[in-house]
Amino acid sequence: MARQPLKSLTESMFYVLLALWRQERCGTEIAAYVRQLTAGRVTLGPGTLYAILGKFQEEALIKESWSQGRMRVYRITENGRALFRREMENMRRCVGDGQREMREEEEV
C-alpha cells in the first residue's frame, strides 16, 4: 500500500516545525525550545521527537543541515514552510469561526 503523504500536523509536529522556523536546531534543542515556548504544556519525548524528525525528512519538510559527531542539526525546507503556512491558515480560520460564533451568542 502506498504511503499517504502528510496532510495535517499533530500538535507535536506543529511545534517541531515552529522550532525550526527561524533557526536550525538539533533534537534536544527542539525539545527544550518547545517546552519553554509552551511553558511545559507540550513536551516532546524522544520517541515522538525522533519519529517526527524521521517523518519530516522523508516528506522533505526538513533537512539535516550539518552534523557533528552524533549531533544532527536540522533546518526547515520550503516544503516545510508551505505546509506550516497552510496549517496556520487553517487554524486561523478555525479560530475565526469559533470567535464569530461565540460573539454572536454573546450578542443574542
Binding site: E11, S12, L44, P46, G47, T48, L49, Y50, A51, I52
Partner: protein, 349 residues
C-alpha cells in the same frame, strides 16, 4: 535471574512488571521469546520502562538513536524477540529505561504512537484472518484423522494423548486469537485518543504465560513419552495376575483345547473407561485366540469402532471358503468367528 517472559503485547502490564522488578533491585537484561533475564542492582524507585514497537524493519536501534534518546534520559535496554526464522531474529519491541523522574515520557503524541503500532496491528489482523482459519483447518484435520483413520481410531482408544493434544492445540489457537485481540484493543484505545495507561496489574498476564507455557511443555512431554514408551509396548500379563475379572475369551469357550493361560493387557483413556486385549496361545502357532474388549465412555462411538474392527480383520473375512460361525460368548451381545483362523469378533453391548 531468569523468569518466564510475559507476552510483550500486554504492554502496560509488562512495563509495570519490569518497573516492579527494578524497585526490588532486579534490572532487565534480555527479553527472549520465553525467558527474561534480570541482573542484580541497587533498589530504586521511579524507574520507568517503556516498550516501543520496532516497526517493519525490526532489528535494534542504531547507535545514533540510542545516543539521542540517552540525551533525553532514556537508555536502550534490549529488544523483545518476535519470531525466529532462517533470516535470523525479528524483534517486536524495543525496551527503554529511564531513571530520571523529570525526563519526559518516551512517546508524547498519541497519534504518532498509534501509527507506530501499524505494522504490529497488521500482523495481528493477519493472524486472525489467516492463522485462525488455518489453525481451525488443522484442528479439523486432526479430528478427522482420529475418527476416520482405519487403525488410528483403534489406537487412539488406548491412549489419552490424542484428545490431550487436541485440547492443547485448541487452547493455543485461542491464545493466538487473544494475543491479536489484546493488541487491537490497545491500539484502538490510542486511536480514540483515550489516555492509554502506562501501568496495569500484571497478575493475569503472568497467569496466561504460565498456562500457555505449561501447554507447550505438556505437548512436548506427551510427544517424548509416546516416542520412548509407545502404548503398543505394554506387556501382556497372565490373567491370573490381575486382581479383578478380565473380559477374556478362552479357546476352551470356543470348543478348542486350551493353549496355556490367557494373557491380558489393560488400557485406560479419555475415550474408553476400560480396554482389554487378551491372547491365548502363540501368534505363530495354532491354536491361537485373541480378543479385544472396549468399554466406551461415549456409546455413539461403538458404531464407528465396529466398522473399524471389521475393516481391520477384513483380511480374514474376505478369504473365501471360511464360513463365519456364530458363537456364544459370556457378556457379549453377539459373537462370530472363523474357525480356520480361530479369530473371534464379539460385539459387546
Amino acid at each position: 535471574m531468569m523468569r518466564l517472559a510475559l507476552d510483550p503485547v500486554d504492554i502496560p502490564a509488562v512495563q509495570a512488571w519490569l518497573e516492579d522488578w527494578a524497585a526490588r533491585g532486579w534490572y532487565l537484561e534480555t527479553y527472549g521469546r520465553n525467558l527474561v533475564s534480570f541482573a542484580r542492582g541497587e533498589r530504586r524507585e521511579h524507574i520507568r520502562y517503556r516498550l516501543q514497537p520496532t516497526g517493519r524493519e525490526g532489528g535494534e536501534p542504531d547507535q545514533d538513536t540510542r545516543e539521542a534518546y540517552r540525551e533525553m534520559g532514556w537508555t536502550y535496554v534490549c529488544s523483545t524477540v518476535g519470531s525466529r526464522n532462517l533470516g535470523g531474529v525479528r524483534t517486536e519491541f524495543h525496551i527503554w529505561r529511564c531513571e530520571d523522574p523529570a525526563a519526559p515520557e518516551l512517546d508524547t503524541d498519541q497519534t504518532l504512537r498509534e501509527e507506530a503500532y501499524g505494522d504490529l496491528l497488521r500482523r495481528g489482523w493477519r493472524n486472525i484472518w489467516l492463522g485462525v482459519p488455518l489453525a481451525a483447518a488443522a484442528l479439523a484435520l486432526m479430528l478427522w484423522l482420529v475418527w476416520d483413520r482405519p487403525r488410528g481410531y483403534l489406537l487412539d482408544l488406548r491412549t489419552s494423548s490424542t484428545p490431550l493434544m487436541l485440547c492443547c492445540h485448541g487452547l493455543l489457537v485461542l491464545h493466538l486469537i487473544s494475543r491479536s485481540v489484546r493488541l487491537i484493543r490497545f491500539t484502538r484505545q490510542l486511536r480514540r485518543q483515550e489516555p492509554a495507561p502506562q501501568r496495569t496489574p500484571w497478575g493475569w498476564a503472568r497467569a496466561r504465560v504460565w498456562v500457555f507455557q505449561g501447554l507447550y511443555v505438556l505437548i512436548l512431554v506427551v510427544m517424548i513419552a509416546n516416542l520412548f514408551r509407545p502404548y503398543d509396548s505394554r506387556p501382556y500379563l497372565p490373567v491370573s495376575r490381575y486382581d479383578r475379572p478380565v473380559p477374556c475369551v478362552s479357546l476352551a469357550e470356543l470348543g478348542t483345547p486350551a493353549a496355556g493361560e490367557a494373557r491380558a493387557v489393560e488400557f485406560r483413556s479419555v475415550w474408553a473407561k476400560s480396554t482389554w486385549w487378551t491372547a491365548e496361545g502363540s501368534y505363530d502357532a495354532s491354536p491361537w485366540c485373541e480378543a479385544e474388549y472396549y468399554s466406551l465412555r461415549f456409546p455413539s462411538m461403538a458404531e464407528n469402532l465396529e466398522e473399524q474392527l471389521l475393516r481391520r480383520w477384513s483380511f480374514v473375512i474376505d478369504i473365501g471358503g471360511h464360513p463365519e460361525v456364530r458363537a456364544s460368548v459370556p457378556g457379549a451381545g453377539s459373537a462370530r468367528y472363523w474357525r480356520e483362523y480361530v479369530e473371534l469378533l464379539a460385539e459387546f453391548q
